[in-house]
Structure formats: structure tokens, C-alpha cells
Symmetry: C2
Subunit: 417 residues, 2 copies
């Protein structure tokens, strides 16, 4: 089954919001053997929406439309769908009842705009939305299915999971796809490609390889297409078995693994604990670690020592070091990492101190300068990095990822012998 | 000038990566008066790419293509462009030289795959890429401009900023757009729409209003289209002056403001400082605060007290409370907030303790239960929230945003009289 996603809304086109809906639907569809042929984002504009639906109908079996279903005047999807399917809006009692119950729970009265939300196209099947006021709509014509859903992410996700996917599975028109992604770091894309070139050339036709680089790592995704998911899984895993020895030292995980989750697994397998002291990363390392479910087993906690007095009073950094070499220095990074390890009584600790920018740089210590310190069971050290560019968020992310990378290497070293 | 963005790559369609490139380009183009007509995401597939470019050429003046320019076998954009423009790949000496310099700096040899990256379409203008190995390409045909850039975000951003936009401005074909967004919270979309209905109906034809709801707030975006940006700005600001009294108490900021930035401005205007103690939010509040440039002026720092012993030893929470009522309780939240305020010697403090999930819930304290405590200059209190759903990341985000919302209200209260 081939699908196209049409997202409606000026906010996506002007970049005010990032279209995370399409990515989420893409993931769910892939897991369910539905291929996404294309994603198209269009304006809240009648003609443009009609044209996008018309073009999609020519190419795919399933057209998924998100957005433009709110109670307000800029949302026009419902009327455009009536025009496309030559039907009319009729009053749908159960939808109004559901809206009334939702609002009563919040102590709010239903107004005219909400009542309009219960006016729905006569020829569609209504998909009830338990998390919002606009229901989903399911149309069929010839052999094509059309589904319209609100663009609010958690409402759309609810409808896909509990209404759309169950109905699509019933049609028996879904096919099997299996993806697995190998996560690597430390080797640039072109060198990686060189090393695995023979293996890549020998891949069977129905298994495709894609390189997905980003500044901190290169991901290799294998996608297999066929009839039976269990067979595809076996074939992909056999290919990965052949790949692994070629690039063993650069692989750090698979699929949804992150540096934080992989590091966490190593800590918990060895019964070790972790603490973090952050200055320039401002809590982001701690956030990455605690985004992993179950992290409370190995993560004791952290101190964000933004002010120098907090570095001194909580972490025990010496006033003299702060005075003589400054907060962004090897000395202070080492004192921070030792301080937090002792204070939180942990087996491993990480510390960062640097200049995230865009302001605060000097000639000697430009924006992007970061000292990262690590403390393990036998070893304590600090390393300096100078990331290029004065983009605050990017420098925070790179500093945090590099810290986790160093932590992973240290744990590997200390627990493998 | 009207543009279409075509993003190439299976990774976007299967949802492995979220297409942030289109949003970023959309923002930059909007600021430069270029309207985005459509965003289309297609497979790494020759025919599909050709068709997307052909359809775009019919509708717009500028076709921006990202992705598919890497050194590896799955990247086919360059060859497809040669086919489309009926030209051939020729060797481009300056590009190979640039690649050699980049690699020499990293101590890596140039391989065959990188040499291939210096083979470029004969009929295009090369846009040098200082941050990567694949340059941008600029084609013109009839009155349409086509630009192809790598999909790696920081390389694409560099090319847009330093190569594409300056060249587009030279064409003199850009027009004026002005956007301003009003950020509100605490009033649902439909009630807001009711209150401002008369104002909305009276808006001039060239100013459009859009409602952008998300779980924590509703944003109202005004977009004005015309010839002169300064005039549009004045008109939009005059409309916002009329809007403001209708919903004064729900407006917390404009455009790129966040709860963290707005709260930070209030703190620094009043010369006050802030500290944070986090359990279930795990450092995320601290990350939001420190994502604001200049936050070191008012932010002293925070303690992520994930383990109970850290709550006791660092923040001074009593062992008895942890034993009798548990970590997720009003008592512990209050002790955490008082503890961190004292420890870091701050004027304001926030604390969170809860169950982010997906596991760890009980009948009495289900996943999503959070106690948020606030301490100001005269007042200390805690409030309980029960967020619905066991989605860890969503519960962390909602807890953090709610904490910042309460902090903003408390500062407003304590500094306005």
C-alpha cells in the first residue's frame, strides 16, 4: 500500500512550526508495511488543497491529510473536502455530545464555533477523537482511501493509533517492510563507504542501504521490502552480521539507541552510577540522560553550576583557580568533575565548562571553547574542544554529545578488563 | 517571488529524520519576502525526482532542492539534474582543492568517492560549500531559478545564508512579507476566537490571521503581504495594539519569546536571581533557562536530585518525609524548593518531583503525577498536577512548561506592587 501525506497550514511553509507529524506518521506506516510515496505541504488555500489531493489520488492508494480542522476561520479543509467529494456538511449529534462532555469537564461552555465542529461531511465515516474537538474523517472513492485528521500532534497520533491503523489492517492491503539502522561514530561518511563498498555491492536487490550523516555520527539504514516481515528481519540481520566486522570499533548502537541510552545500559550492566556537573551545557546532559526510561537506576543526579559561587560552594572549586585561570579552564573542569563525583558519591562523573555563545567569547577563549572532564574509577582527565560557530544551541548539543562519547569510551575501557 | 522546496531522501519519508531543513528555509525566505508555495518530500528515485522538479517548475519562480548530494551510492540528485537540464558532469578543480584542504586539516586522505564529488554539472553556477564536500548548484531556465544543496543542516544553512540569499536579493524579484506572532496561554482556542471575532472580521484583506495551538499555549500569527516592509510592520503593529486590550491577561510574549526568555527578562529587570531543583524533569527546566543567551545574569544554577540520597544530602530533604510520604509529595517538593533556594542563595526557586513514566506509577500516584513547588520573596507553595498519558518526554515537557508558567505568575505578583 502506497500513501501520500498532505499537510495543510501556512505555519509549516513559513517555518513557524516544524512538520513533526509527517515524520511520526512515516514511522508508524513503515512499521505497518505502508510505503510513503510523498509528503506535500500546502497553504490553507482552497485551490491548492484541491490540486494536491487530485495529484495524490493519481499516484497512491491512501491519501492522509492533516491540519486545517480547527474551529477558527482560517481552517478550511472540511469545506474543501465536501467540494472534492461532492457532498455537504450535516449535523453529527455524537460529535457535539463529545465536545460538550470535554468542555463540561473543564468547566467551559460550548460556543458557536464548537457547534460548527459537529457539522461534518455527509459521505464520510467519522473517526471519533477522544483528545480534541475535531474528529477524523474517512472517505473512499474507487480504490483510494482518504483520511483527514487534525494537525495537533497528540490528537493526530491518537487517531492514527486507535482509528486509522486498525481500519487499514482490516483492508488487507498492507505489505511488509523491515528497517534496521546501524549507528556509527568517529569515521567520516566517505571512509565508511570505502570500507564497506564490497559488502554494499553484494546486497540483494530488495535490501536498500542509506547513509544518514549528522555532525556527530553516521547512521547506516538497511530497508528490506517483501511479503513477510519475519523473513525480511532475518535477511537484514544476516547482512548486519557480515557488516559488523568491517567497522566494529565505530558501531555504538542500533535503531533508537542514543549515546545516553547505550551509556546507561553499560552503567547498569556493571552496577555503576553516574553524576554530572554542567556549566555551559546548562542541564542538557542531565536531560539527555533522564530522557531514558529507567535512568534512575544508575543516574544519581547533577549540579548545574552556572554562577561561579555555585561552582565554589556546591562543587568545591577553588576561588583561586577561578581567579587565576578562569571558569573555562582545565583546572576548573577537573575540580568540577571531582567535586560532583564526591558530592553525589558516584562511580563515574562528567563535567563541562565553556562558552556556548553567541556572546562571551574572547580572543584567547573564543565562543565554542569547551573543557570536558571525565572521572572514572581509576582515571580523571579533561580535554579541550573548540567548536566552530557561535550558534548557542548547536554548541550546547555538540558539547553534550561529545561528553557522552568520552564517557562511553571511558566506561568501555574500565569495564572490559 | 514564489518558491517550492523539494527534499530528497527516504529517511524523511520513513520518519527516521524530521525535516527541519524546510522549516528553517521557510523562516529565512519569509524574512526575505520570498513566499513558499509548497514543500514536497520525495524518494531517492530518479523518476520521482524528475517529476517533482517538473511540477514545481510549472508553479514557481524558484525551486530549492535539498539532499541526495553525499559521496555515496544512494545519492543520485546530481545525475538527475544533468538529465533534467540536458548537461553533463565535468571536473571542477576548485571543488577538489577545497575538499583536499578540508581533509588535510583532519589528517585524512581524499578517496575516490570524494574525487567524484568534484564532478559537477557543466551548465550550473557552483556555490562553494565551506562546511562540507558537496557544493551547491545554481541553474536558470526561462524565468525559473533552480538551486540544489546538500541536506546536512549546517551545510545547507551556510549555503542559504552566504550564497543563495545574497544572489536572490540581486535579482530584485523578492517582495515584502511581515509576520508577527502573539503568544497566549490559559484560554482555549475557541474562546479566544470568540473574544477577538469582531477584530478579526475587521482586519484588512492583505493581513491574514492564523491560530497555532499547542498543548500549552495558542499563538496568533498575523501575516501582511505588500510592497514595503516598513509599512507592513506599522500596519501589523497597529492591529496588535487593537487586539491587546481584548486578551491582555493571556498574552505572555511575541514571536520567538519563550516562557524561559520572558521569565528571564523579568528577573533581570528586577535584579533577581533564580535556582532550580529537579527530579522528574531531570535537568530540562535548567536546559530551557540556559538556552536563553544572557541567562548567566540571573540564573545561579540547579540541582538535579534524581536519587533520594541526593535530595537528602544536597538539598536537605528529610529522610523521614521520604520514608513516610514518598519523594512525589507536597512535603518533599516544598523541602526541595526551600533547600535549593538556600543552597544557591537565590531570590526565586522552582522544584519538581513526579513520575514521568512510562513505568513507576501506582494506583495512588499514577504516571503523570507531578508536584511543582515555587519559592519567591514572600511566598512558598506547591501544586499538584496529573498529566494524562504515559509518554515520558511529553510529561517532562509539560511539567517544565507548567513550572515556568507558575514562576512567571509569581514574579509578576511579587514585582508589580
Amino acid at each position: 500500500m502506497k500513501a501520500e501525506i498532505i499537510t495543510i497550514g501556512d505555519e509549516i511553509l513559513i517555518g513557524q512550526i516544524v512538520d513533526t507529524n509527517s515524520a511520526w506518521i512515516g514511522q508508524q506506516f513503515s512499521l505497518n508495511g505502508i510505503e510513503i510515496y510523498q509528503v506535500t505541504s500546502v497553504h490553507d488555500d482552497r485551490e491548492h488543497i484541491l490540486e494536491a489531493i487530485r495529484k495524490a489520488e493519481e499516484k497512491v492508494d491512501l491519501v492522509v491529510i492533516t491540519g486545517g480542522l480547527g474551529p477558527t476561520k482560517d481552517d478550511i479543509t472540511k469545506r474543501v473536502l465536501c467540494e472534492y467529494f461532492d457532498t455537504q456538511l450535516v449535523f453529527h449529534e455524537p460529535t457535539l455530545e463529545a465536545i460538550k462532555v470535554r468542555f463540561a469537564n473543564r468547566g467551559i461552555d460550548v460556543n458557536r464555533l464548537n457547534q460548527d465542529q459537529a457539522m461534518l461531511p455527509e459521505s464520510c465515516t467519522i473517526l471519533p477523537n477522544k483528545l480534541g474537538t475535531a474528529p477524523g474523517m474517512w472517505f473512499e472513492r474507487n480504490n483510494t482511501i482518504f483520511v483527514s485528521m487534525p494537525g495537533v500532534p497528540f490528537e493526530m497520533q491518537y487517531l492514527v493509533e486507535f482509528e486509522l491503523l486498525p481500519r487499514l489492517r482490516e483492508t488487507g492491503r498492507t505489505k511488509a517492510i523491515f528497517h534496521k539502522t546501524v549507528l556509527t561514530q568517529g569515521v567520516p561518511e566517505s571512509m565508511l563507504a570505502d570500507r564497506i563498498s564490497d559488502w554494499e555491492d553484494a546486497l540483494p536487490k530488495h535490501i536498500k542501504l542509506a547513509y544518514l550523516p549528522n555532525p556527530m555520527s553516521v547512521r547506516l539504514r538497511l530497508s528490506a521490502y517483501g511479503d513477510n516481515e519475519a523473513t525480511l528481519r532475518k535477511e537484514v540481520e544476516a547482512e548486519i552480521e557480515k557488516l559488523r566486522p568491517l567497522i566494529a570499533e565505530s558501531i555504538f548502537g542500533y535503531d533508537e539507541d542514543t549515546l545516553a541510552s547505550v551509556t546507561g545500559q553499560m552503567l547498569s550492566a556493571n552496577g555503576k552510577t553516574l553524576a554530572v556537573a554542567e556549566s555551559c551545557t546548562g542541564g542538557y546532559i542531565s536531560h539527555l540522560i533522564t530522557s531514558v526510561s529507567g535512568s534512575s537506576v544508575y543516574y544519581k543526579g547533577g549540579v548545574t553550576s552556572y554562577a561561579n559561587e555555585v561552582k565554589q560552594q556546591v562543587l568545591g572549586v577553588s576561588a583561586e583557580s577561578l581567579e587565576s585561570v578562569g571558569a573555562v579552564s582545565e583546572e576548573v573542569a577537573l575540580q568540577m568533575v571531582k567535586g560532583v563525583k564526591r558530592l553525589l558519591n558516584a562511580d563515574y562523573a562528567v563535567a563541562t565548562t565553556g562558552i556556548a555563545g553567541p556572546t562571551g567569547g574572547t580572543e584567547e577563549k573564543p565562543v565554542g571553547t569547551v573543557w570536558i572532564a571525565l572521572a572514572g574509577q581509576n582515571k580523571t582527565f579533561a580535554r579541550k574542544y573548540v567548536f566552530v560557530g557561535d550558534h548557542r544551541e548547536r554548541n550546547i548539543v555538540r558539547s553534550a554529545q561529545t561528553a557522552l562519547q568520552l564517557l562511553r569510551q571511558l566506561i568501555l575501557e574500565e569495564t572490559s578488563h
